[in-house]
């Protein structure tokens, strides 16, 4: 029956797919049998007992035994089906503890994915094959729904709240992601791709930090501004020259800055790099040594962007 499953269902892409398809096909055959059990008698009776003038019909008002049988049998059948469905649901609803966690932010009308190391991507989701992946999802505007037909998973994404879904991909290659909760004009275009790849390829992908920045290749200062917000630089550093907990970034590029130890240093790439990794090494005069280290949290292209941003603020 494998061929029929293949005709009726999408390709099997996760560990859930086998179970879901088995239940689906079982229900399919059950439905076929029950449907024939209803349609065939209906049509047969209509022909076999077709109208003949003067035929007297028996006056049978009821048959309690028969009626109990056809009430109880469906009930038992349903209890069985319920528990079978419950089995698959239990797996679906509880993610294994070791699952890698990817955050999904849905908005009209695209997907943003964020990996444990902070790498981000929009629209394309990379996951390692044969490893459980858990998605913690939230929405910025209305309700969306993360639906990967090949993985047989689906869950609503609700604004103001996080929901969870998980799967273990088993098949290399790309699979479709669609939004399954109506969200407006672009609903049907709110699609994405899951790329299931080998562990090595996935690590390689993470090392580059996603592909989101490529859109900003020609305008790295904008990319830097996004990082300024995302990494939280904005909570201490301003871009407009006003005072905050840390020195403003405006106009510092290429200038000499006086430190608490009395020396002055030129603000250049090396200085910014040092401030990112070892913030306590040099403290600008008039400020407290409160900045935490960002070592390992900023990828090369993000750093490039921040430098471009500071350069642009002359």
């Amino acid at each position: 029956m494998g061929w029929l499953t293949r005709i009726m269902m999408p390709p099997q892409g996760s560990t859930f797919a086998g179970e879901v398809d088995t239940v689906y096909m079982a229900l399919f055959w059950l439905s076929v049998v029950l449907f024939l059990g209803i349609a065939v008698p209906a049509l047969y009776f209509a022909w076999r007992y077709r109208y003949r003038a003067g035929r007297v019909t028996p006056h049978v008002t009821h048959n309690t035994t028969l009626e109990i049988v056809w009430s109880v049998l469906p009930l038992l059948l349903c209890v069985g089906i319920f528990f079978w469905g419950l089995k698959g649901w239990m797996e679906y609803s509880v993610a294994p503890g070791e699952a890698m966690e990817i955050q999904i932010t849905a908005r009209k009308w695209n997907w943003a994915f964020e990996y444990p190391d902070g790498s981000r991507d929009a629209g394309t989701l990379h996951v390692p094959v044969n490893k459980p992946v858990k998605f913690i999802m939230t929405s910025e505007d209305v309700i969306h729904d993360f639906f990967v037909p090949d993985m047989r998973v689906k869950h609503d994404i609700i604004p103001g709240r996080y929901t969870e879904v998980w799967f273990t991909p088993t098949v290399l290659g790309s699979h479709n992601v669609t939004c399954a909760e109506y969200c407006g004009k672009g609903h049907s275009d709110m699609r994405g791709t899951v790329i299931v790849e080998s562990d090595a390829d996935f690590q390689n992908y993470l090392a580059t930090g996603g592909t989101e920045w490529e859109a900003y290749k020609n305008n790295m200062a904008d990319w830097g501004k996004i990082q300024w917000e995302r990494k939280g630089c904005n909570s201490c550093h301003t871009l407009d020259g006003s005072k905050s907990k840390g020195p403003t970034w405006k106009g510092i590029w290429g200038s000499m800055v006086k430190m608490t130890d009395g020396n002055s240093y030129l603000v250049d790439e090396a200085y910014i790099k040092e401030s990112e990794n070892l913030p306590q090494a040099k403290i600008v005069e008039g400020f407290q040594p409160i900045m935490p280290t960002f070592q390992g949290l900023i990828k090369p292209h993000e750093f490039e962007g921040i430098v471009a941003l500071i350069k642009s603020l002359q």
Binding site: Q103, T105, P116, I136, S139, D141, N234, P292, F294, G296
Partner: protein, 175 residues
């Protein structure tokens, strides 16, 4: 009230399927009982019983409601079908409440492990203060793997010393 009690039970109109039930005496007694119960429920609210206060208040309210329905609305004497209709209203209300509460009380509010890097839903650019309050500890396995996780902006910004709500409030809350 005593001014109205001189209105006595009327016996004149006893014809044509007249069902004389209740009467002034019963109505007055019902009113007095209702007023006493009101006093009791107000009094009980001054005693701190914890969650018991709600239970006591609702039990007394139900007794009062029953008095109104039975005596003022004549269900005590009327055909049972009216009572069944009224009870059906309350029954289905109970079903609605029970199942909705069952969902609300057993809901899982997931939180990302790396909450400090999460863009705040709905209000991009502001710190997810309510989430940082809820999170007991940011040194979860994933963040521990990245050195210097203490440098997360949310942790760096001074978190307001407000108590965490008992249930995780939506992350959209602004301070």
């Amino acid at each position: 009230m005593s001014t109205h009690t001189e209105i006595t039970h009327n016996h004149a109109a006893g014809d044509a399927g007249e069902h004389e039930h209740g009467g002034t005496a019963v109505n007055v007694k019902t009113l007095v009982a209702l007023l006493i119960l009101t006093a009791v429920t107000i009094g009980a609210s001054y005693i701190d019983l914890g969650n018991g206060n709600v239970v006591v208040a609702l039990i007394i309210a139900t007794i009062k409601a029953s008095l109104v329905v039975l005596f003022f609305m004549h269900l005590r004497w009327d055909k049972p079908v009216y009572g069944i209709v009224a009870m059906a209203g309350f029954l289905f209300l109970g079903i609605f409440l029970m199942f909705s509460l069952m969902d609300q009380d057993t809901r899982n509010y997931y939180l990302p492990q790396n909450v400090h890097r999460t863009e705040v839903p709905l209000t991009p650019g502001t710190a997810p203060a309510s989430l940082t309050e809820i999170l007991p500890d940011t040194s979860t396995p994933a963040t521990a793997a990245a050195p210097g996780s203490a440098g997360s902006p949310a942790a760096a910004s001074p978190a307001p010393p407000t108590p965490a709500p008992a249930t995780p409030a939506p992350a959209a809350e602004k301070k």
